[in-house]
Symmetry: C2
Subunit: 214 residues, 2 copies
């Protein structure tokens, strides 16, 4: 197989750790495919192992837990969400950027519902993914905050509004929309585009008729 490997490669990828990393990656890839194809509840150690060409026990040489695999999947999904949001975040005009961010968020939830559920709806994941050392969650949230910061700098916001609270409210709307779409799709018939348009319209311009007298 590799008899010429007698010379120890000092700076190159040593086969020992190299193949270990490959195995990890293959396991994760197969796990992701299972979640995407058959849903999160189908993510079984034995299924992952069979798909990756291992026995179930072998997975524990590469991951501590089934939960560790799921967590890694969730973190990768979080990075994917951040990428999608970052792409939309390039829009120059703040209001259009806000809409683009919302659409990208909704699109991610629609494209990878099981990943979204894993990140934000499974108990114990979002807490660590957002609060831990992983900065993807914070970076994604900062993208939203940036919009309102820009609006504030441009003087387009009402007085006395807290930027972080605004960003939080917007995120709440996005998450509420996507997660309800996942669990109550039968009840939530409207498209994400329409829902987002209505929510943004109300959030920005208010639902009440402007009142002359206090």
């Amino acid at each position: 197989m590799s008899e010429v490997k007698s010379s120890p490669p000092p700076a190159g990828g040593s086969t020992r750790a190299r193949r270990k990393e490959d195995a990890r990656a293959r396991i994760l890839a197969e796990a992701r495919r299972i979640v995407l194809d058959q849903g999160f509840e189908a993510l079984t150690m034995r299924r992952i192992a069979e798909a990756a060409g291992y026995s179930a026990a072998a997975l524990y040489l590469h991951f501590e837990n089934r939960e560790a695999i799921a967590r890694e999947l969730g973190e990768a999904g979080m990075r994917a969400l951040l990428d999608a949001l970052a792409e939309a975040g390039k829009t120059v005009d703040p209001l259009q950027r806000l809409k683009a961010l919302g659409l990208a968020y909704a699109a991610f939830g629609r494209a990878e519902p099981e990943t979204y559920r894993l990140i934000f709806m499974e108990p114990g994941f979002a807490a660590t993914a957002l609060g831990g050392k992983d900065a993807a969650g914070a970076a994604a949230f900062a993208l939203i905050g940036g919009v309102f910061q820009d609006l504030a700098t441009a003087g387009r916001l009402r007085d006395g509004l807290d930027i972080e609270s605004l960003a939080l409210t917007f995120w709440i709307v996005l998450h509420g929309m996507v997660s309800l779409k996942l669990t109550c799709s039968a009840f939530l018939v409207a498209s994400e585009e329409d829902l987002l348009a209505t929510a943004l319209d109300n959030l920005l311009h208010g639902a009440l008729r402007p009142n002359r007298e206090p």
Copy 2:
């Protein structure tokens, strides 16, 4: 096949169906206590059975599935949520009623997080609970819609706003707030009161400074 077969004592508690109903109720009560005390994932057939004084197999004489037990629990929770909202819905002033509804919704999520998760965050439950014959979900949603209907009748809404979309947006905000509080409590440090106040303020009055020119 069984109409003339037996004329059970209509007014006396016929032991036959009476005790069956008691068993059902006892099973459900114990199941609810387990969910409340130890969380939804601790809801195990053997645990329920032991708590109710049965063997695990006996539960299948009263319920089709573990899922059937959970579904019944979720439907009862939905009725409890409806009751809480109905109480808040007595507020006369529409705007104060909106706030009261939001606070009641948030309070329910805080008081019974596992029930809320069961109803709205577990796959496959909300869809049937809201869309099925169970009218609790629709009634709860109608309470929200009524607020905006009243606001519209009073002429306090901006022109061109769809009432159902408004109600949906408000529900989305409530659900986003409660569910994020459940999964990302470490990240969502603000209290529900503050979150709701901010969201309502923005939703009603808009975040943008009123613009004189189109």
